[in-house]
Subunit: 214 residues, 2 copies
DNA sequence: CTTGACACCCTAACGGTGTGAGAGGACGGT
DNA sequence: ACCGTCCTCTCACACCGTTAGGGTGTCAAG
């Protein structure tokens, strides 16, 4: 009955039933423990959420680990963002849990390492931090938006216009030809294409701005 | 006692006490009405949140209005994102309310107009939509992150290290010299600088990619 | 003038939530 | 044998979203 076990149980509940399924009583029940007992291991619900966010980020696979041998820093930034995004989108409501959680003191060392890489590439420390902030904001913003759309699709599938999805879209978007064209164009792409588009803008912008100074 | 009044009261409560201060009973009390009465005007709490998000976006000042005469599309994109960001950051918890709300059907017309502008600039409809998605995700992601930090500063000001903020930072970040350098560098900038950095990357990336084809 | 329909509001209540207070059991050191 | 510390319990509070059902008022039709 450690604090880790509590966080694990909470994350299990999150994966199964979404954010609203995570309650103190339910987490306790899953551990064979009754309600307020959790207050011995965890200070707050807020703190539990923070711990969950931290653990979720840790499970995305060695975030802030640093680039591999011979890998350009921009490629590494891109891949790290991509991995975080897919991991967040994979488990239900994970983006909403992670959103707005400042890295814990123990993550500072990792951030420090990444800043080191970027500073070695020619960025000033402030620029490096801004770049990290921009990438992080974009990743979690995209993940939140993405999951919200997934939830919507799960709750209101009864749309008029028949069974064919294309026909339904055409019916719903009558009068907005460009939106219709955009969506039918995007439907052919893999699911993460919209995310990749902005990611490419950010990373390539960084590369164009700072590459070659290392 | 219209639905608009309910949403207005809810937004007042949000501005005063944050998201957790917005409850059906409190909104009703502010309107001189008792609890479940709201169910006559509003279907759900979820729907109330959606309406609040919609109204919040509307109050950012004519979003999706279209560029002004002689204004390049990229400048207009940038300014629109900036206005939305500052408006969201201005009222407490507004980012969390807005995050993950798909534009209502009535906003489709506005989106259609923006897509028209971008398509006229040479983007394909799918690209235009991806650009809008990227900008929107970045804006709300930044706003959420930003406000979360503001909340944190409000809740845990008792930090060790004395009164001087700089000394406190130096104490807290001992061992992370680059982070310390980054923060002391950023403290001199206006508060929106970190947001502006990523916004510039996105907008300039779009401009470099598609300008001149119009 | 009466009657009925409808819009709007009420109270009572249910099950759930986060959280606090205090009691009690297990266990190791003195 | 006693104490203190860890851990869990029960009980209780105040609040939450939501449902059910019973009222008022206004207003049109008979």
């Amino acid at each position: 009955m450690t604090r880790e076990a509590v966080v694990d149980a909470a994350l299990d509940l999150l994966a199964e039933g979404g954010l609203e399924a995570v309650s103190f009583r339910r987490v306790a029940a899953r551990l064979g423990v009754s309600g307020p007992t959790l207050y011995w291991h965890v200070e707050n619900k807020r703190q539990l959420m923070d711990l969950m966010a931290e653990e979720l980020l840790r499970r995305t696979g060695r975030v802030y680990a640093g680039p591999e041998e011979g890998q350009p820093w921009w490629e590494w930034l891109r891949e790290d963002a991509r991995r975080t995004f897919t991991a967040l989108v994979a488990t239900r409501d994970a983006p909403r849990v992670v959103a707005g959680n400042r890295p814990s003191p123990e993550s500072f060392a990792g951030i420090e390492r990444v800043l080191g890489v970027l500073v070695a590439a020619g960025l000033r420390p402030g620029e490096a931090q801004q770049a990290l902030f921009a990438l992080g904001s974009y990743v979690i913003g995209s993940a939140v938006e993405w999951q919200a759309e997934a939830d919507r699709g799960r709750s209101q599938p009864p749309a008029p216009g028949g069974e064919d999805p294309a026909a339904r879209r055409a019916c719903a978007l009558a009068g907005q030809p460009l939106l219709l064209a955009a969506i039918t164009e995007l439907v052919r792409h893999p699911h993460g294409a919209a995310f990749e588009f902005g990611l490419d803008l950010l990373v390539e912008g960084l590369r164009a701005r700072y590459a070659g100074e290392a």
